[in-house]
């Protein structure tokens, strides 16, 4: 370890594991508070969450590992947890103690993971969480006896109310560094003998011996992930053969692999619980069940879910307005201030039209993003999210996916990047690929600015549906629908053509409902919000400057002189407008825009919209900044104070003075952005997740074609109604 100032025994590394929905994150937050760092493990998408806390002179480092039902790695992501626990990663120190948090109400299943954790040979503490709920259900605990049975300390806990934390801290200090060699394996004698034999064969000539736990997993892993060479380098054909022979012998002895694992572990669990935990004879119906009767009801549940989605979008519009207006106002003030201080020229233009206008135009949408993530975090934390997966499974199975694809796709409404990463929870490779390929069609938060800008400027603010829902909110809902419908069609097509195969089984836990914790919700909301700001502040900022430069250079004084010579009769402000227009038109961006105008004219776009679309290739939200810069440069002096919306409304075609934007044009742009793949980050993530350039290239191609056709038909059909 690279901290020479602190003696080794003063810093204790704690690894935190547990089943999903056991309150693991709550415990992690309660232990470490704000002293958290979030990063990534190399090569995988698992978040590396490390927090710190101290008790007296002892510093603790707590590694929060992803929630899991089992320590049986079948993918690189699941391997990370095992590697961290076994101290096989360089990024984190080997743990001194493992905390296994379990749901007191459901020990039968939770102790399965504990039985695996105990085989790692590490000092372990079992945190018995949600004791209050379990006791209310009539379950009786003799924790002393259970602790004696398991051979490790047990700490009763109510993590959400901070009860039992002190006892847990004391227990950690007491247990770290204690010997663990006298643990009893849950497996039958014959199995243990085979594992010992294989361990000897594998590590005989090896300098870096494979831990016994992984040898055991090799024997159990009939799927072959561990032996394919990626996870464990030292496996050769001869050893594979030994493994196959061992499985054969075990099968003949009545211990078929892998079934022997569940048999042995559940038998062990029953033995541990015997006399220590007593279940009530008759189970009572909980409040969760009552709620579920309505929320998972085929008709009522689905209706409520649809209403919920509509309410969220309506809230994004109405709640965010005051905050947005304040940000808008502040950005305008800053721009004016810089404009007043600096002399006219490249620097002033860079700061006002590039930096402030570009980044400001992205920042202004932060309120909506916070509101959207607030709702997502609440739905996740209260347990409703899993119900949506249940409700949507039927629908998803029609397009060949499962309800598990629903969460990644729903997350993609916030941002396709985490959404595509979340698709790793889908074990089925084909399902995962389809989910990844259609995830970018979900309307992400980066499209939100585009929708909000154009809807605000061109869709009348009238009420429909009896005065309850605004036409603007309805248009927004429609944009989300466009993406969903396209995704369904693409998924169906992929299943019929490129990716044929069988629909996998689908299992998912429905956690009990709970009142969402404000702390968790706020934490998730700010985390996501900041992630967006960081993107806006770095990538978007860089692109805005690049685009500003492309729109500003090359610039020659001859253009100005020529215009002054050609139009001597015009007044100064008219002249400046024409000069600015001429300057941008002959800039790099202007030339690119003109080059593609014949292609985009059928969509109702002028060369400036073409420019903005080209410039938004790295990230969709850039289109706002670009439109701001382009329509700013071409505008009149006294239009400085106008908002971007007003500038768009007043933009005209140069030849005819007809307005560039009308409703069909605005809709055509929105449909284009709903369907296009203008996001470098998404394409990069697809490359990483599929480990091939084929799929990001395919995604970009199919989405761009789809976007063009969608925008084309929107404009052409829209114009039929307008004229």
């Amino acid at each position: 370890m690279n901290k020479p100032s602190i003696p080794a025994q003063q810093e204790i590394t704690v690894a935190l594991i547990g089943n999903p929905n056991t309150g693991k994150s709550t415990l992690f937050n309660a232990l470490t508070g704000v002293r958290q760092r979030v990063g990534n493990y190399p090569g995988v998408t698992v978040e590396k969450k490390i927090g710190r806390f101290s008790v007296g002179n002892t510093e603790y480092q707590c590694i929060d590992l992803p929630g899991t039902y089992s320590l049986a790695p079948r993918s690189p992501d699941e391997m990370i947890t095992v590697d961290v626990l076994l101290g096989r990663l360089q990024e984190v120190p080997p743990p001194d103690v493992v905390v296994c948090i379990v749901d007191a109400s459901n020990l039968q299943r939770n102790l399965y993971l504990v039985s695996q954790a105990l085989e790692l040979g590490l000092p372990t503490v079992v945190a018995l969480n949600m004791m209050d709920t379990a006791r209310a259900k009539g379950i009786h605990f003799d924790t002393e006896k259970l602790s004696k049975n398991l051979g490790v300390p047990i700490v009763p806990l109510q993590a959400n109310r901070g009860i039992g934390l002190d006892a847990l801290r004391e227990s950690l200090a007491a247990v770290a560094g204690t010997p663990t060699d006298n643990r009893i394996s849950p497996f039958p004698e014959a199995f243990q003998t085979e594992v010992a034999l294989l361990e000897e064969q594998l590590n005989r000539a090896s300098e870096s011996p494979v831990p016994r736990y992984l040898v055991e997993r090799l024997l159990l892993d009939t799927g072959g992930y561990l032996s394919n060479g990626e996870a464990l380098a030292s496996i050769d054909d001869a050893f594979q053969n030994h493994v196959l022979l061992a499985r054969k012998r075990l099968s003949a002895a009545g211990y078929p692999v892998p079934a022997v694992e569940a048999m042995s572990r559940y038998a062990w669990v029953a033995e541990m619980l015997d006399g220590a935990v007593t279940q009530p004879a008759e189970k009572q119906r909980s409040t969760s069940d009552q709620i579920d009767k309505v929320l998972t009801h085929k008709i009522w549940g689905t209706t409520i879910f649809a209403c919920m989605v509509l309410i969220i979008f309506q809230a994004i519009f109405s709640w965010a307005t005051p905050a947005m207006e304040s940000i808008d106002w502040a950005i305008g003030k800053i721009g004016n201030l810089i404009g007043d201080i600096l002399p006219t020229g490249a620097l002033q233009s860079l700061l006002v039209d590039g930096v402030v206008a570009g980044v400001g135009a992205v920042l202004v949408f932060l309120p909506q993003i916070f509101i959207l993530f607030f709702f997502i975090a609440v739905l996740e934390d209260c347990g409703y999210m899993a119900r949506t997966a249940y409700l949507m499974d039927k629908l998803m199975s029609h397009v060949g996916l499962s309800g598990k694809s629903f969460i990644p796709l729903l997350s993609s409404f916030a941002c396709a990047v985490p959404g595509i990463m979340a698709a790793r929870v889908i074990e089925n490779r084909r399902d995962r690929l389809v989910t990844i390929l259609i995830a970018p069609l979900m309307s992400c938060s980066a499209r939100l600015p585009v929708y909000i800008l154009l809807i605000g400027a061109f869709v009348p603010n009238t009420k429909t549906l009896g005065g309850w829902v605004g036409l603007q909110a309805l248009t927004m809902f429609g944009m989300y629908l466009v993406g969903i419908v396209a995704a369904v069609a693409v998924s169906w097509l992929l299943h019929k053509t490129l990716l044929k195969g069988e629909t996998p089984p689908f299992v998912m836990e429905l956690p009990s409902y709970k009142i969402p914790s404000l702390r968790t919700v706020v934490q998730r909301m700010t985390e996501r919000g900041w992630a967006f700001v960081r993107r806006a502040g770095t990538l978007i900022f860089a692109v805005t400057i690049l685009v500003w430069a492309a729109a500003y250079f090359p610039r020659s004084p001859e253009v100005e002189a020529q215009i002054r010579a050609n139009f001597p009769a015009l007044n100064e402000s008219e002249l400046e407008k024409r000069i600015a227009g001429a300057n941008i038109e002959q800039s790099i961006l202007g030339r690119m825009g003109h080059a593609i105008e014949p292609v985009v004219k059928p969509l109702g776009w002028d060369w400036r919209i073409g420019c903005a679309v080209i410039a938004s290739f790295p990230a969709r939200e850039v289109v706002i900044g670009t439109l701001g810069v382009i329509y700013n440069l071409g505008g009149e002096q006294d239009e400085q104070s106008l908002s971007l919306q007003e500038r768009l409304q007043s933009a005209t075609w140069p030849e005819t003075d007809k307005p560039v934007f009308n409703l069909p044009v605005a809709l055509s742009i929105m449909v284009f952005f709903a369907l296009c793949a203008q996001c470098a980050a998404t394409l990069a993530v697809i490359k990483r997740e599929t480990n091939s350039w084929r799929w990001p290239a395919f995604t970009f191609l199919y989405m761009t074609v789809l976007a063009y056709l969608g925008a084309l038909s929107t404009y052409q059909i829209g114009m039929l109604f307008v004229s």
């Binding site: 749901d103 459901n106 299943r109 569940a262 998972t296 899993a386 249940y390 836990e509």
Partner: protein
């Protein structure tokens, strides 16, 4: 002992015990890790596809495919 029947033949409210898991060994192993072990008592909370079953104190949402299925002994008075 009652006959083994597929899980999705249970009607809402009916109780049963897990009898046998059929299918690809890895898929079966995963189901076992989630608690669907032999002999585990279950209750059909909401039948259909997917269905919701209660398994000790948790609820699972489950939809089988053609290759994997859960066979159960229904607690029927027959």
């Amino acid at each position: 002992m009652n006959d083994l029947i597929p899980l999705n033949h249970l009607v809402t409210g009916e109780r049963a015990r897990v009898g046998q898991l059929l299918g690809v060994p890895e898929e079966v192993h995963r189901l076992q890790e989630l608690g669907l072990r032999d002999g585990a008592p279950i209750e059909m909370v909401s039948s259909g596809s997917p269905c919701i079953i209660r398994l000790s104190e948790t609820k699972l949402c489950f939809r089988n495919n053609d290759a994997t299925s859960v066979l159960v002994y229904a607690d029927r008075a027959s």
